[in-house]
Subunit: 229 residues, 2 copies
């Protein structure tokens, strides 16, 4: 079936840029390549699309197989189709980016995957193929999108403080935000549930915990509301 056309077909792969957030740092999940080409180099988790699965499904499958992650936010990023991007063979890759609630999932990659490791996004090792370029596009997209779509919550645990949320935005956007203005704006949007519960185990005044309420968000969007931070 793959040779039904008279022209040869490029290979089709998926690659996932996996972001996490932990203690004021944006993190990136990388795997060590087990096979040639680029054996032993750090790379984005990914692999070839199979004939019976959609490209989206391929991305989820590879993510699960290579890192143990499942049930996370995953969205198509961009397709990289340069002729020479893969040494030795013609491979086009559809890149995705994933957002992971690190606190929940921390243990799983280590157990299931060969060598999936979290790196601070600011200290990423050299990457195989054009994965460095893919990462750059993913960072740009994340920075752009986080401001007008509430995807930042995908990086936080279900219960979080306003300061954690603010630190997340500061880490992604790369600049400090004013505490009072930030809180005012976030609370005014009325997207968060006040969980009436306090942070525990900190050695300073405990902060209130909040939860993102997707129902409220969807309702507001229907009424023409635009998230913006």
């Amino acid at each position: 079936m793959s040779c039904r056309y008279d022209r040869p077909r490029p290979g089709l792969a998926v690659d996932c840029v996996v972001f996490g957030f932990d203690e004021a740092d944006l993190k990136l999940l990388l795997v060590e390549r087990a096979m040639s080409p680029c054996q032993g180099h750090w790379a984005l988790p990914g692999g070839f699309v199979r004939i019976g699965e959609s490209v989206d499904e391929a991305a989820r499958r590879e993510l699960r197989e290579e890192t143990g992650l499942a049930g996370v936010f995953l969205e198509q990023l961009f397709t990289f189709g340069a002729v020479d991007r893969h040494p030795g063979d013609r491979v086009v890759t559809v890149a995705y980016y994933a957002l992971v609630k690190l606190a929940d999932q921390r243990t799983r990659p280590a157990t299931e995957a060969r060598a999936a490791t979290w790196f601070p996004a600011s200290k990423v090792p050299p990457l195989a193929f054009d994965h460095g370029q893919i990462l750059q596009v993913a960072l740009d997209r994340l920075r752009g999108k986080v401001r007008y779509v509430p995807i930042g919550f995908e990086l936080l645990p279900p219960k979080f403080t306003l300061s954690e949320l603010q630190h997340l935005y500061e880490a992604i956007l790369g600049r400090p935000l004013d505490k009072r203005n930030f809180r005012k704006k976030v609370l005014a949007m009325d997207l968060l549930d006040d969980l009436e519960e306090l942070q525990r185990g900190v050695r300073h005044r405990a902060a209130r915990l909040y939860g993102f309420n997707p129902r409220k968000y969807r309702r507001l969007v229907k009424q023409g509301f635009n998230f913006e931070l």
Copy 2:
């Protein structure tokens, strides 16, 4: 080479959503399919990616071969990878959208192409495959992007009036804009050259002609300027 891997490969295609703008109407360029499947149906111009060309190059080539268009704005849109999107065979397509200065290019598609035809974007016939869905994504993207990146000028001739620019934005955004506020904002951005030349051949007071100045735009962007309309 295409059978070097043990697994069969999906086919890889490109499709182009081509937008034009003419007399207050957003237009879409479609071709009639000459081959099965979907022979005789209207479809987006497109075709298979060859092994020796990048995906971007494939999109440009197909656009030229099927519509005669060259040298136009062309940008990747999204990759459509559902298993059943192409009847009978597994084909993944990388969709692009093109913006055409219709006044310049009006004659060319008719001469070079089999049957490339402009349709008002509001009166598009049923499309082959999932091309209707691709069109919807392209419209959403155009509507979103036109507001914060100056791509609207790609749809206008090199010399245009402020009213033409306003009508373009009204057509894309689907709502009326205030004339005075629109002109104030556009001129305040200082992206346009006043060509000190008047419109000709109209039966009312002639309007001033302006030109978009990409140099000014790039300079302003370097200084942190953000286009927004």
